[in-house]
């Protein structure tokens, strides 16, 4: 942790994440209004004393909506990434540990999946599953799987022939024991770093799906959906698109900066 806080970008990342995480944890209590309450007299307003971040086309308080949307946005990013990391790690570790034909078959399949741009792949799966928050989460998780599997595999390959693994093998330890106790703890670093950075991608893809109408559905306070709803009125009240846009960017940037700082802390050689 001290290493992470030693770089300015790490400090900014931790600060952004603290703000976002507190919004996610306490947002509904901090919000000054009910996020779905219509203030019909104050529609499409800019920031004011009554509504710090303005109001949307129904006169709903933007600050309250952003605060309420933080939890689902962060949970979406974490959930989708966790899904992709778990599935990808299992596949990658199996490929790395088994080696030989299993490895090459798995890798060819992954190459095929990686040959499609990530957003395209996600869109295909979302359409297959039908729109909705949970479906979008599953889709992003599945789309992350091949990339994570590759990283997990190369992490496993890099520790597979280390002395402590050979020693465990020579001791006659079971394969499961070797994988869980010797290989995994030493291969987990790169996986965690990649996962942290991927959370920001997951949040951005989730918001994009919400924007395209394939993710969260109205009257959800998902940030991408908020941008999409406010777009109709963007020339009358640009705050409606700028506020959730900044919220998305802050969250994504927080995870990005934190992930980079984490990488530098794990691997001092790469810190330029």
């Amino acid at each position: 942790m001290r290493k992470i806080l030693s770089s300015p970008s790490g400090v900014v990342g931790v600060m952004l994440l603290t703000v976002v995480m507190s919004a996610a944890a306490f947002g509904p209590w901090l919000a000054p209004y009910d996020p779905q309450l219509f203030h019909a007299q104050n529609r499409l307003e800019g920031p004011s004393i009554a509504h710090w971040l303005g109001t949307d086309h129904y006169g709903r308080d933007m600050l309250s909506r952003i605060l309420n949307g933080a939890r689902s946005t962060v949970l979406f990013g974490l959930g989708a990434t966790a899904l992709g990391v778990c599935a990808g790690s299992i596949i990658g570790v199996v490929a790395g540990v088994e080696g030989g034909r299993t490895d090459s078959v798995i890798m060819r399949l992954l190459d095929g999946m990686l040959a499609m741009p990530e957003l395209l792949f996600t869109l295909l799966i979302v359409t297959l599953l039908g729109g909705g928050t949970l479906q979008a989460l599953l889709a992003v998780g599945v789309a992350f799987t091949p990339g994570m599997a590759r990283i997990a595999r190369s992490a496993v390959l890099s520790v597979r022939t280390r002395e402590y693994v050979l020693a465990a093998r020579a001791r006659g330890e079971s394969r499961a024991w070797i994988v869980l106790r010797e290989v995994m703890p030493n291969a987990i670093g790169p996986i965690i770093v990649e996962a942290t950075i991927r959370v920001s991608f997951a949040i951005m893809i989730g918001a994009t799906l919400g924007f395209l109408g394939l993710g969260a559905q109205p009257p959800s306070t998902e940030w991408g959906l908020m941008v999409s709803e406010a777009r109709q009125f963007m020339f009358r009240n640009p705050w409606g698109v700028i506020v959730p846009g900044i919220a998305i960017a802050m969250t994504a940037m927080g995870f990005n900066l934190f992930g980079d700082a984490l990488r530098d802390a794990f691997d001092p050689k790469r810190s330029h």
Binding site: G112, E118, L119, L128, T208, A249, A252, N256
Partner: protein, 316 residues
């Protein structure tokens, strides 16, 4: 150029494409509701449905349908669009050209700007240039295309103050200037995100070169800083820079989907969203394949360029 390397790489591309066709076919055939249901709608009778399924060949085993589809593609026949009543090859073909204009201009612009930007940040490491470029690239990476696009629209296309058109498309052969004018905002949207990615990665690659032993040796020899950078650092940073750009092609191809939808640019992305919303399976399959082929070929080309630039990887 080593011929066997080229053949091996082309072979790998063919294998990957074969896997992609299987993946696309499986995904699109698991989609709930088949083409016959799409055409007839929810109120169709079972008899009508069965008849149309037979007519479209949907009652045959999946394996037969798959090979039929693939052999059609190999002959340039992607089938008929279920919604537009036109051959898929024709619809996707014209959309492909429009998309390539957009992606090509964005990529060219980004390459010209972000490589010098990244190099400058690496050379001036730790100075305020580096900080400014770093902040820019972090902000740019964290902004999804739809947010950048919307902000650009508010800034440059508001009704009272229209500097650039808010969307639409003009054929480049009809009026090239109007075409460029319509391309400004979509290209800028794609460019901002890509520039952020690429300049950051170029900076990191170039920093690595700058801290390498031969650059230190060149400095210790007493060469001028200019010579160290122009003769020793930049040529060796070129191959990583090409690699960085090819890594971002996938991002670009994903980006055009959103950008075209927002700016009403009649390319593959907009067509894909339309096809997804209307379950136009042959169009979805064709677009997915085309994007995958472009992605694979651009990776191949960049690998060949890298092999040309850096003799060490030629036989890898």
């Amino acid at each position: 150029m080593n011929l066997s390397y080229l053949i091996r790489r082309l072979g790998a591309v063919v294998v990957v494409m074969a896997i992609v066709t299987v993946a696309v076919f499986v995904i699109t055939n698991v989609l709930p509701g088949n083409a016959a249901l799409m055409i007839l709608g929810e109120n169709s009778t079972p008899e009508n449905l069965a008849a149309l399924e037979r007519q479209l060949g949907l009652d045959r085993p999946l394996l037969v349908q798959y090979f039929d589809w693939v052999s059609g593609i190999l002959q340039g026949d992607f089938g008929m669009s279920l919604r537009l009543g036109l051959p898929v090859a024709q619809v996707v073909g014209s959309a492909f050209i429009n998309s390539m204009w957009l992606a090509g201009i964005a990529l060219a612009g980004v390459t010209l700007i972000s490589i010098p930007l990244g190099a400058l940040a690496a050379i001036k490491r730790g100075t305020k240039y580096d900080t400014i470029i770093g902040v820019f690239s972090y902000v740019g990476t964290a902004l999804p295309e739809f947010v950048t696009a919307t902000i650009l629209l508010v800034l440059f296309a508001s009704p009272g103050n229209t500097i650039f058109p808010a969307g639409g498309f003009v054929e480049p052969k009809e009026d090239f200037l109007a075409f460029l004018n319509h391309a400004v905002l979509p290209v800028a949207t794609l460019g901002l995100v890509l520039m952020a990615h690429i300049s950051r990665q170029v900076r990191s690659e170039m920093s690595e070169v700058l801290s390498s032993d031969y650059v230190r040796a060149a400095r210790l020899k007493g060469l001028s800083e200019r010579r160290v950078i122009w003769r020793h650092t930049l040529p060796n940073s070129l191959a990583p820079a090409v690699a960085v750009i090819s890594l971002n092609i996938g991002y670009l191809l994903g980006g055009i989907i959103v950008v075209e939808e927002i700016f009403a640019w009649p390319g593959l992305g907009r067509l894909l969203i339309y096809a997804l919303q209307n379950r136009d399976l042959p169009v979805i399959q064709a677009i997915t394949l085309v994007l995958a082929v472009v992605y694979a070929l651009s990776n191949l080309i960049s690998d060949l360029v890298i092999a040309k630039l850096d003799p060490r990887v030629r036989y890898a």
